[in-house]
Amino acid sequence: MADSVEVNLGKGAVYPALVVGVIGSVIALLIKGKSGLIAGGFALLIVFIFFIIHLIISKISNNLDPIAVMGLALFSYFSKVLILGVFLLVIVNKISIENLDRPSFGAIAIAVTVAWLGGEVRAFLKLKLHMPLPKKEK
């Protein structure tokens, strides 16, 4: 059985994002030491969780009404913003700068996000979607 669109998009996005995240973490390790590596790991984890939630929502909403899709999309967007806010608050208040390098975290998170989106776009362009043709007019 062929993979669904979401699985193909996920597969196309995971590899470039993983490569960029690992390279970024290694660079951060070399420049900032252990705190850079931990920041890279956190950044990779949070970006992956966010985009996987996005793919799950799009899989769930495959056969739903457009308004229901909008409801799920708004809900997932709200949840993501809130969870990210809580996550950043926890990082700022509970983890010291010596243990987690903030600039490395931000830079790697942005790089992984760009890589994931680029991979997703590339995977989407490769997809063979069956579009319904318009009916012939008599």
Binding site: L64, P66, I67, M70, G71, L74, F75, S79
Partner: protein, 64 residues
């Protein structure tokens, strides 16, 4: 966007905002009186859950 879709958008947005404000507010109050810090997070989770429930009942369950 038609007027019914626009209405649905604002309804969904108001469910989300109202649920969060109400339950986070209750969580903050409980935290204030019990001198704790985690009830606001529980309130946030309940707020999001109740908003999703309302969105599900109003817009998803009926059109499935």
């Amino acid at each position: 966007m038609s007027s019914s879709e626009e209405g649905a958008f604002w309804t969904i947005l108001s469910y989300l905002i109202a649920g969060l404000i109400l339950w986070c507010g209750i969580g903050l109050l409980v935290d204030h009186f019990l001198k704790t810090t985690f009830f606001v997070l529980i309130g946030m989770a309940i707020g999001l859950g109740s908003s999703l429930y309302l969105i599900w009942v109003r817009f998803i369950r009926i059109v499935k």
